[in-house]
Symmetry: C2
Subunit: 389 residues, 2 copies
């Protein structure tokens, strides 16, 4: 039996495992340390009351023979949720048909699994630094990967290089890890580039709920031409605090390869996935109700305020950074070795962040802080960071 040898080409340790290990070693030596975590991109605020209520009701339905639900009618998700997602898009001025929405257990699954649909013989363009899933899932498939370098000079928002030919393009905006967000005009350049060579854009919109800048699109489908070249991944994780609850969705427009791509994704999902839990689908529907959007928005505003506090502090220190505005991430220039800065922040300030080099070669010399902790802990962390820097 032959194993998929491409797995041997993936770096062994997942970034956050290494962080956990260093943290564990430090707290073992310093049991009293009051550690503040601005590291992993995990939310901390509880689910919105109406989401909890919907969850309770759905669980109760599952316990009653009259309202019990077995398998979903299909792997794409219930109509009630796909209609709610379609209405959410509409409220943001974007027309996405309920039929184009595929519900899943999370954007990470979809982002990884969608690579099944492509031949191994494709060239994949991935920004550097980047969310590791794009890179690793394509290494697992043995694809040729080229990097689009992000750095201070382009504000960590790369423009397409028309001399470079590729087949699949990953974009994430607002970006993880850099927090940088494309404007409509910048995204239009990428769409035109993709359409000019029949490439596909895999667009990760997991952080769309953080966008408030007028010129920054919340969906790639706000921009003309995207429906012919793009797939969009979205998630309730950051929008509604579902990181531990699990629900996401992927939009595959009808125009993409004349419907063939949507049919392939549906075939993949109906073969290797059995639908998202009825309970989560009801909770997600509640998150996109009028009341739910209001309640979730309150949580997001808290995180956005945290981001602003961190960003303002760095500005006052004269430290270059991106993000912190339309994003829960702040990407700061630490210079030198990112892991050394990690150790410095951990040991001197008892603050945990994420070394930029963990997101790619161009992340070296940079460092990611997240806005997902509580306001008081974020303020305390900022005050400690100020003392150290």
């Amino acid at each position: 039996m032959k194993l998929n040898l491409n797995y041997d080409n993936i770096k062994k340790s997942y970034l956050f495992v290494e962080i956990a290990n260093r943290l564990k070693a430090y707290t073992a030596d310093n049991p009293g340390a009051d550690i503040i975590k601005l590291g992993i991109g995990d939310v901390t605020r509880p689910l919105a009351p109406c989401v909890v209520e919907a969850g309770m009701k759905a669980v109760a339905e599952m316990g009653d023979a009259k309202t019990f639900r077995g398998y979903s009618p299909d792997s794409k998700g219930y109509d009630f949720l796909r209609n709610a997602i379609s209405a959410y898009y509409k409220s943001n001025g974007v027309i996405v048909d309920a039929d184009e929405i595929h519900v899943s257990d999370g954007a990470k699954s979809d982002c990884g699994n969608i690579t099944d649909l492509f031949d191994s013989d494709n060239t994949v363009l991935i920004p550097d630094p980047v969310y590791p899933v794009y890179m690793d899932s394509n290494i697992m498939n043995g694809r040729n990967i080229i990097l689009s370098e992000c750095h201070e000079e382009n504000g960590f928002k790369p423009a397409p290089d028309k001399k470079v030919k590729c087949d699949i393009i990953y974009l994430c905006s607002p970006n993880n890890p850099t927090g940088a967000a494309f404007t409509r005009a910048e995204l239009k350049e990428w769409i035109d580039y993709a359409n000019s060579m029949n490439a596909i854009i895999l667009f990760d919109a997991a952080y769309e709920a953080f966008v408030t800048s007028e010129d920054v699109p919340r969906s790639i489908f706000e921009v003309e031409g995207a429906r012919r070249c793009a797939v969009e991944f979205c998630s309730f994780s950051k929008t509604a605090g579902f990181t531990g609850t699990r629900c996401g969705y992927t939009v595959v427009p009808k125009e993409l390869l004349d419907g063939k791509f949507a049919a392939m994704w549906e075939r993949r999902q109906s073969t290797k996935f059995n639908g998202t839990s009825y309970i989560q689908q009801r909770m997600a529907e509640a998150a996109y109700s009028k009341e739910g959007i209001k309640q979730c928005r309150e949580n997001i505003n808290v995180y956005k305020e945290n981001a602003k506090i961190i960003s303002d502090a760095l500005t006052s220190l004269g430290i270059y950074h991106t993000g912190g505005k339309d994003s829960p991430y702040i990407w700061l220039k630490c210079g030198g070795d990112s892991w050394e800065f990690f150790d410095k922040l951990l040991t001197k300030a008892n603050v945990v962040g994420t070394p930029g080099s963990g997101f790619g070669k161009c992340g070296e010399g940079f460092f990611r802080l997240t806005a997902f902790n509580t306001p008081s802990k974020t303020a305390e962390a900022v005050s400690r960071i100020k003392k150290v820097l």
Copy 2:
């Protein structure tokens, strides 16, 4: 951009669509018909009370900042659930370490996704008739597939043919669709066969909770040698009625390729999956508590009694069939064309089943009935079937 052209080789499965269409046409012509469905393999009884209670508690925890849970510590699942699964195995006399258990959103996902770990250049042995996921997920990867034919002569329990060389072997026992269940001795033959040529067995144990025969193993790991060659998929779907709730698990023994296979699966899952919902993990834990096992057992006993009623009726009519004992499925010999028998049962008895030919070439002339309807409807269906046959 090049698509994965293997998708063009998958048969468009019209099985359940065709069943729905024929049913729709019949009920349009016969609006008063009292149709009884013994077709699809979906449960009907509600979740056990202690599972509902655990779900309520978990949802409430997610709504409180003090008890809120974000991402799972890792994609494998919480210790509390992996320990409960390990204890469940132990109660059945099988030692499986909590570390060897990987929790997911369902066995179908794991069954499909595990094919990522193999090179395309492998020969896969799949029984015929079969659950379509094994076949389709390997066609998607372009692998060479050979069939192990099941028929009346081998009681739909094929024995390995030592002259046949293969790399990956799918086994499902108790089987979907035939309900046939391997004895320990029969399974030992497969394990020895696999070990003799370093093949891997992908063992689907989704229906283990239906086993009551003394000589039928509930886990492949009951049988000596399995830990060196087998992976086992299991599910809360049929055990605890989780078809719409979603939770399953996969056991990868440490001995398999000296731990390399477990490491690869963990890498795959941590890259393309973000863990199972905390809510489902708590519900699954409750299903494997002492009280939960008792409550779930009551539901399974109802289905088992249904299966016995169907099986006894067929025996009294002298109709050859498998299953109905350690399984919720009854696989009966209808002779001739499976679809003709479908029409006969639908029009003459108003009972819906599944044509065996939909599960593979060797299913022609056979027909699947399921035990998941209510006891009264099952009894009524049996009485109608008796009149027709």
